[in-house]
Amino acid sequence: MDEGDDQCTSSDKTGLQKTIPEQTVPRCLPVLHALTDPASNAIALFTEVHHSDPRLKKRGRKPGGQTLPQYPFASAPGELACCISTITGYPVDQFRTTRWVLYLPLVQDGPARSIPGDNNPGELPETASMSPFYVPVILCPYEVFMDLWAGQELLNEQYIIGDSLRYFFQLMRAATRLVRNGQFKPAIRRTGLLYHASWVPALTPGEAAWFQQFTLLLPPVCRYALPRRMKRVMVSDPKSRAFAALTAMMQAIILCALEKSPPSIRPGRRMIEGQRNELAFMADLTGMDLNVIGHLMEKEFAQKMHTWLTYSGKDQKISPFRSCIILQEPPEGSTEPWPLSLHLRSEADPSLIIPAATIWELTDEPGGMLPPVAYLQQTLLTGLGKAVSASPVIRKYLTGAKPDMGECSMAEAAIFLTTDALAVQQKGIDLLLPAWWTEQKFRPRIELSASRGSGNTGRGMLGISELISFDYRVAVGDNSLSPEEFWQAVHLKAPFVRVGGRWITCDSDALSKVLKNFEKRYIHGSPTAGDLIRISLCDEIGPGLGVSVEPRDEWAADLLTLMRSGQDLDVCPVPITFRGTLRKYQKEGHAFLLRCTERGFGACLADDMGLGKTPQAIAWLLSLKALGAVQTPALLICPMSVVGNWGREVNRFSPSLKVCIHHGAARCKGDEFIRMVSGYDLVLTTYHLAGRDLEPLSQVPWSAVILDEAQNIKNPQTNQSKAVRSIHADRRVALTGTPVENRLLELWSIMDFLNPGYLGTQHAFQSRYVSRIEQEKDPGAIKELRQLIRPFIIRRMKTDRSVITDLPEKMESRVYCSLTHEQATLYQAVVTEMAESLEKRVGIARRGAILAGITRLKQVCNHPGLIAKDTGMRPNRSGKVMRVLEMLEEVCDEGDSALIFSQYATFAQEIAAICKNHFSCPILLLTGSTPRKERENLIQQFQSGGGPVIFVISLKAGGTGLNLTAATHVFHIDRWWNPAVEDQATDRTYRIGQKRNVQVHLMIAAGTLEERIDEMNKVKRTLAAEVLAHDDDFLTSLSTQELLDIVSLRDSVFSGEED
């Protein structure tokens, strides 16, 4: 500002007003200009003042001189450096000052200037010849320029900002926004033989177009600047000049960002030694040293990275693009046209969708984000080629040299959506269709509200057949319409219609068919609670028609809550009359039974064998009684082999329940039966008798019918099943240990007993589920059926986490087996014979007779064939063998392995032989006569088996070192006097650290000496070990009467005569 201020006002001419808005800026300030060059890493700034230096003017007149004239209106840069330093904080002595070459048009006898000065009179010529001048500049590095841009307002006090500087400020602003948007990528640059990585712009086509436009704005003064004088004068073209500046600005922002928050790359020694190239690449990009200072990328590595960064690798997996066709709905308020347009879409970034019009006009420019144009165009073309062959609508609208969009009629849009769309997609083309077409939530669905029907009488045990009433509306998206409104809207036979202000899809033919059926059945028919449950569990009431159900009264609310809560069961208190403790899951089972039966629904308890279904059922019976809900007895039907077990378990857990067993030749019949049962709480009978005595049984108004081993009615056609299903009762419960869900017919049969009609007729069930599940393995059908039965079946497995933590490692259960008629008779005969022979003998002979007699009795308990080898070893001659087979079947069904211990080698052989006839899994047999080598083989085979294996072992043989941890079930098929022997055998199956639980089943022939042995053993177990050194011998020391007390048959009522 060495010029006088008085000059400022001197002249004010037209022609330059574009540059300086005269009204707002004091004319006296100098003008600040900016120049760039691709070869410079800084922006050159210079100030233009109002008065020229006369000395410079003079030198400038010398033509053809060795040195160029100095631009006469530039001032010395010192003051400028101070000012920028104040704004940016960049040390003033760090600014480099130098001179650049600038070509300017000559006006009269001096170079052009932006401020009207003393030598620039009013009229300027249209053109003027160009001449070079030196201009003194200070070099402002790009990162400093960033700060200058941020604080540019401060410049206004001292300078007028020239258009050139305004231009670069604006470019800086753009650079910031581009970096903010992530539009940058690494690139490899080569200078001489050196390779560097740096950041370059990665512009979208839209941004590239912006940049092209922006380039055109570059003031001419910026176009003809050179950092130094050159012989052959060529200057960068405006676009590369501006691009270089943009690149440098973005790079500066990025490096500042990374300097502020550096990434955590911590190169270890191995990295520094082995990955110097990779580290150098990252070091260049981040501005960190990464311990590779001085190392530059090697040529080969740089080449490899360059190939990647420019998408030019031959086999490089360019993150692929796909052709994409978009169909949009017509403008609001009209029904046509439907715009159909062609695009490319990135698979890596599905939000990147580029219109075809852009792709056709795209050119490969530096700094573009997209893969090479050839790739994009080819992708678009091939996609279109395929799409056209798949869709007549596309063929109509998207052909021609550079197709990009068309407008379909409503009918065409309908064809496109309903038929073409799928074919187009199958050709690998992306489709973007209106949300209401693709999204489920915009499909019409039924909103049902349900309440208990008025036709029901006060009696509350109708369960599944309780009458209810439905109301409905049709919902679309968030709108809900009355049926009339809906029909009004869809009467047009179109695949989509406007309903309640939005488009919806609906196949009106199909929909009206489904709706008509629905109305006929549920609105005008007489729907039941079963229907409500079914609808609330399935989400559809017909193909494509979803449904949601809301309650309209408390009764329906309670029912729906129950159905939706699944098996999260609140535990209800177990009545104090129950003797014993239920485990947590058993309490849940008890609650489940109550929850279902008190609403009139039948329930199935299908826990794994050994989880204690019996106590749960007994607790449930006691709860019914405690709640005062029952006035009449309950009927329990079970296989003959477990009648005894039930009798004992009921006595054990609830002595207060009065139990009667309807069994045997002397059982009550007719009216006598009806009179008799009214005095009991629970009547036990067998499936066999249920079929035979249906007449009296169906006369009794049972409070409940319980089926144990409910798989006995698996074949719904048998008389026995029909009879059981026909018995009337207020409550129905089924117990089974088999995985019913996988045995569909059995499932149907049990469910039809529990909730008649719920799963439809057997025929309907067969066609809806059985073939779809068993043959087609249709996951939809499986899911649907699971949902349907879930409210009524509870099944816990030993392996369930919640159950397993609740179980002890070893669970022992006593299984009381009834004797068959033959067994009972034979047993009685042996006892009688024994009594007679003992009368006559003493001493050794007596002892011998006792031992022989005991052995014979035990053998009768096992199988009568063992002493009467006349008619072979049919399993149904022995109650115990039958029961073992039933249980083994469940074991094998669960995929588990079992050990069977017997003290008699012959019986072990027989059992193994019987098992071989019954099961397809491997049956192994180990007795005293098995050679040692063979024995090891067997054990190995047992331990390594993947599926179920049954291993029969004669206990005496199992003396040493057996490790049989593969077993989860252990059967002691006959009893020892010494429980320690049994324990020792059992212990082989579980060692410390074994993860699973072992179930031990002690098979006891009910009413026989085995039961007595067991009772004594129970006592013995509590005594010290040395007292236990008993054997059968101990019996010989008893008196004949004591002995007969032990061996004589009790409870002969359990013996069967059905077979």
Binding site: V107, W210, S236, I265, K317, I318, T382, K386
Partner: protein, 296 residues
């Protein structure tokens, strides 16, 4: 069968190794899977006599073909229906004249869907149909359009050999219908090249690009002799109206588009490592934008 002696110039099926024998893949029913092969077969079946065609089909199924050659304008195949002698069958296709090719090429280049079908290799009905509208027939309309020659003495124009060859060629077309271009005079690759040229699509599989050396004279212009001094210091418009990146939500990640890099650093792909730098950089720039432009 007893081997007969043959003159040396007549080849027999025994001269062909089992490996090179061509037989129909279709074991029963009609021949031809794709629509164009069905059209091809229909042309034969319109012209031939049923019994003969059935025998020819059986013959083609039994492995009668050998020595298939497809050349510009013609297809040759050896057929042996007797179980012994091979008859050479030749199909001469009508070659398109040059002006037809010129029309075809400009037609394909001018319709993106046709060019796309050609480039994608999808022999679509649209492609054939559009050409047909211009009276250019890639598939024959009738049997007589193809000149079928056979070396046998059978007086019938459509002898069993020709028919068998026709069936066998149907399956050749099933595999690659673009043979039809070559048979009409121009290989597909050549047509593709010409169409690309016309549409100005450069080869996609660019050969290895070397890194350009940065030279100052890369993109340079000469300083013009004259300039307008009046606007020399001015911008040619208002830059404020031009600003990129106004919508920060709809941007793509350039690193994602590149796919995985050919190098790892410390077990992590360079592409991931580089991509991980973006969030802090963008955040920093976001702060700059907000500071400068206020609550925009």
């Amino acid at each position: 069968m007893k081997k007969r002696r043959n003159p040396w110039w007549i080849k027999t099926i025994y001269d062909v190794s089992q490996r090179n024998i061509i037989r129909l893949k279709s074991e029963w029913g009609p021949v031809g899977e794709n629509w164009w092969a069905k059209v091809w077969v229909a042309v034969l079946e319109d012209a031939g006599e049923k019994g003969r065609l059935t025998r020819a089909k059986t013959c083609a199924r039994n492995g009668s073909g050998s020595r298939l050659r497809i050349e510009t304008g013609q297809m040759r195949i050896g057929i042996c229906c007797s179980g012994y002698t091979i008859r050479d069958v030749v199909f001469l296709f009508p070659k398109f004249k040059e002006d037809v090719w010129v029309r075809l090429i400009s037609l394909v280049a001018a319709d993106a869907a046709l060019a796309g079908a050609l480039l994608s290799g999808d022999f679509t009905e649209y492609f054939v149909e559009e050409l047909r509208k211009e009276n250019i027939h890639l598939l024959p309309k009738n049997f007589r359009e193809i000149t079928a020659l056979c070396g046998c003495g059978d007086a019938h124009h459509l002898c069993i050999h020709v028919a068998a060859a026709w069936y066998l060629f149907a399956e050749v077309l099933d595999e690659d219908p673009w043979h039809l271009l070559m048979l009409h005079g121009l290989p597909k690759d050549e047509l593709t090249r010409l169409v690309r040229e016309l549409r100005e699509i450069k080869g996609v599989d660019c050969s290895k690009q070397s890194i350009p050396k940065e030279r100052l004279s890369d993109r340079t212009i000469e300083v013009p002799k004259l300039e307008n001094p009046a606007v020399f210091f001015s911008m040619a418009g208002d830059p404020l109206s031009l600003l990129p990146g106004c919508d920060p939500d709809t941007v793509a990640n350039p690193i994602l588009l590149l796919g995985p890099a050919p190098a790892n650093l410390g077990g992590k792909n360079i592409s991931d490592r580089t991509g991980n730098l973006y969030p802090v950089i963008r955040e920093y720039a976001e702060a700059l934008v907000r500071k400068k432009e206020g609550g925009e």
